[in-house]
Amino acid sequence: MNSANLSVAKDFTPFPFGRTPADGENSAERFRDEFLLPKLRKGEFVIVNLDGVLGGLSSSFLEEVFGGLVRKRGFVPAQLEQTLKITCNEIPSLVDRCWSYIKEAAHG
């Protein structure tokens, strides 16, 4: 399995905001569907790095990115555990939070 690195700050924007494109162009949905999803669908092992974001990482953004993979794009947590790694050296607690969104989304 090929692996791919994806940095929110470097590959998307240092200023993420909101859930959907209606909230703004740097939305979670755009990051998820245009940056993360194509790599997952190609069968790559994706390492998402959350470091370096300057505008703040809010719960809404993170929930929509990671919880949204389950709620809206049909992934299941067990599948993501095999294909997705989330890293954040600056705020390690965010990694657990993202995984909790994935698991909560699976429980509806």
Partner: protein, 361 residues
Amino acid sequence: MHGVSAPGDLDGRGRRAQYIAPGTKEHTVIAPAQMDFDDNLESTLDFLDRILRWVLKRNRTVYVRLDTVTSMTPEAGFALAATIQRCMDLKPNAVNGSFPRSHKVRRLLTALGFSELLEILPVPESDAAKSKRRYMSMVSGNQGDTAVFPDFIRKIFGDVARFSQENHFEVENALKGGLGEAMLNVVQHAYNDVQKLPFPIGKPNRWWLAGYRDAEAREVCFMFIDQGATIPQTLPLNFEEHVKKVTAKVVGSLQDTPSGIDGELVLAAMNIGRTGKAQRAGQGRGLNDLKDFIQLGVNADVKSGDCDGCGTLRILSRCGSYLYEDKENETCVSLNKPLNGTLIVWRLSAGSAIEWNEIDE
């Protein structure tokens, strides 16, 4: 506030603006002597409400008398400036007024950017420089833009304050995340049903941001306000809240405000899964994020054994007043007078989450 009294002309009426046509009937709105959201909360809210009512509902030119003001807190000055700017967005020449006699109040308004924002005469520079607090002039926008946060925070902190090394990414992210959720609330909810608001809006999705540092008190403060639909208006009610609201309507005088349960509704909105479009799975976490900056600041102090009311989150939204200090100190009150919008104030003082340099400001 074009044509306000000149700084030296503080007789309470001052020079008249030239744009006012002869015979135009002005309505005078007199500010309370003390403007704050504490002991004088309802008189301050009433004053702000009367400005909006006369300008935007009764379509009158208003002369705002600020010469009566002897004290004003930053959040009251901030709300006043946003209120007047809303009026001027819709009716550019409808607000006129006088400067406060109090130099301290004049310094506050100038430092907040009242002069530049509203294009009124500033107080003299030398006078403004005497303020011990360092304010960041108000920033306003009408879309989600987290790019303003780093520079804004940097200017608030200056060379004097910085996030503590131990967990500075976490604390900084909590502050930016809280500001971002406040902004998202504006973009997603606050200006959706504008026809239900008591007064017309100025620019859609408009928000304002301001703040200050006080090196002497070792305090930083961030303030955010919008003037759209409030939290009590946009919160999906549960069965019990519906019953209470209907009861309040039957028993009392409910039109749109006050509802009598606004305080409870703001408190409820702070719980995960209750806000805005919370019925949609995964949503409704945002307002809870507002607490994180204070929680982390307070927790940092608990670690060092030095925490005594060092952090507060205050929210005023319509008639709901909410105060958060820590998990054991979260209170709400329903007021008789509304704020026509939502004001959020984060204040962190004397904490170990923020380090201060010994610089004499």
